[in-house]
Symmetry: C2
Subunit: 342 residues, 2 copies
């Protein structure tokens, strides 16, 4: 049994979900994976906030007290780019592995952070950053490692899909967006979701993982201009409208597109409704593999974070103690670091 | 860069697919994963058979010459239970990791072989043994590691699904089975497929991986008794008939069931046709994650084998040289061995 201590940065919805899940799954993880996970310190902004199930003695508002504690893995759930990036850099410099659900950080600084991790033979887990609880990062990096990926397409924004699902039921665009906000799916300003730019960020993360090549072309059209009439017309023809993000490897580089598409209702993409996501990966040898599930939510996302922590905890157990110091590489960290896109 | 040599046992359809794929993906795997995979020796039954793309100098009919060569990973694709089991035991005794696509072997001797691997800190990769190119073993063991699995259901027999798809198009049962045989999906005696026993074997492998608990109850009904009239009646109500394998964790143990079920045509299970497979995994925190893709075929299966070899090659690079001798465990091999069900 190897003890692995976790520093948790951020205790919002996903953070509280992570604390709950790590507690209730602890014994199963000990029995099954041979690692004992313990949350050592938790960084919060406000000590006085009520957080049911969270041990108050672990909380602090001082970031360095958490990161520079003697923990093995830093779980970054503060979100945003600037501060989160500084935290992750510090953790890597300390020789700590990192797990993050932060898509914006990876979109902005991914290559630099992955390079820093590779230099030190460390891992950055980011399964939770794309498509919530669907293990699509692992499918691309591990499950389909033996095959060349030719294309990826997906419905990767749950808010958009929820809006389109409500419009199918008769709401107009504004009413559907309002319904999504009431259910907590859409932000106060859902522009990034509606305009397709959130989908574009996600498909770019998946594309860089799948193709290991620069993304050269991008075109983005959101669902803002989709009318209820278009949806009804599609429906009359046995189709539905979905916001589909696509990435394809072409001789000139990787092309990324996000646009509303008319899809046969009997197609798997047509059957994905509400806040669910779907990703179809086409491999040269494997053909098309499709994954679908909840694309967001505190517990599904927390489960993806915890799965990364378990894998990293097992890897830590297997590697020499000096890994983590700058310049020390395990031979297996040559090439892309584990779990990591470039 | 770490050189990893492979001993290949068996060079039938999947074996030839593996040789082809390992060759054409070699440079990408070097660049991406930092391991250089080379096939050292290949065991065949008949040296004179024509095998396009396979280097004849690697072939031999002497099994021990292949297994006891200085290779790191043994890929077992001979099939069957008795001889394959002896080969795998020998490889583990030699301190070699094993990758297998052999569902029958795992169903018969899985616990004993996994225990032998655990004792030596070795891995047995078996992604290819269930659902061909769909990375469902990894999803259960890694991607959803942080969550408690509550149930699994799937269409896990491509032959059955192909037969039902043809019956939907108007063929009767016998005609549909004949069509499956012509396409190379069904065996000369397709009883195991049609009777649901092949599905039961597969769902039991997935269940033991998901629940880490003994399977206590099993009921199996195949599609032999499904008539074209039943399919037409279902179709009139917007439904289709599929052979669904289910496993559920209940207080008394794990229950496994295989039976033809009427499914809404708009459901993902309803949209899975022909030789495709689908698996839906319900996690307590994650909700339902669904994976679908080609459940069989030489290249999809070979890609799954190669993905296992890549992961094992990376793990080998990271672990101490003395692992593999009896009684030497890495701390991470406590609990279930990597990639391995019990």
């Amino acid at each position: 049994m190897r003890n692995v201590s976790i520093a948790l940065l951020g205790c919002g919805n996903v953070g509280r979900g992570f604390v709950e899940l790590a507690g209730r799954e602890r014994q199963r993880i000990r029995d099954r994976y041979g690692v004992d996970l313990e949350i050592g310190r938790i960084l919060v902004r406000d000590l006085t906030k009520i957080r049911p199930g969270v041990d108050r003695r672990l909380l602090t508002t001082r970031a360095l007290e958490v990161i520079d504690s003697d923990c093995d893995v830093v779980v970054e759930l503060v979100g945003g780019v600037h501060t989160a990036g500084a935290f992750v850099r510090r953790a890597l410099a300390n020789g700590q592995d990192v797990v993050t659900a932060n898509k914006a950080l990876l979109a902005a600084h991914g290559p630099e952070l992955f390079e820093a991790a590779t230099q030190r033979g460390l891992s950055i887990g980011f399964e939770a950053s794309v498509c919530g609880g669907i293990p699509v990062v692992r499918a691309l990096h591990r499950g389909l490692a033996g095959d060349s990926i030719e294309s990826i397409r997906g419905i990767v924004n749950g808010t958009c899909n929820f809006v389109l699902s409500r419009m199918e039921e008769g709401l107009d665009f504004e009413g559907a967006v309002h319904a999504a906000q009431e259910r907590g799916f859409a932000e106060a300003d859902p522009s990034m979701d509606i305009d397709g730019h959130d989908s574009a960020q996600k498909i770019r993360i998946l594309a860089s993982l799948a193709f290991d090549a620069p993304v050269t072309h991008e075109s983005v059209i959101g669902i803002r201009s989709v009318t209820r009439e278009q949806i009804e017309r599609a429906h009359a023809g046995g189709c539905v409208i979905r916001l589909v993000a696509e990435a394809e490897r072409l001789p000139g580089g990787v092309t990324v597109r996000v646009r509303p598409r008319e899809i046969d209702a009997a197609d798997i993409f047509g059957s994905v409704r509400d806040e669910y996501n779907v990703v179809a990966i086409r491999g040269r040898a494997t053909g098309e593999v499709v994954l679908t599930g909840k694309g967001a939510g505190a517990l599904p996302t927390a489960a993806a974070v915890l799965s990364d922590v378990i894998e990293i905890a097992q890897l830590r157990s297997a590697r020499p103690a000096e890994v983590g110091r700058v310049g020390v590489r395990t031979s297996s960290s040559a090439g892309a670091p584990r779990l990591v896109a470039r």
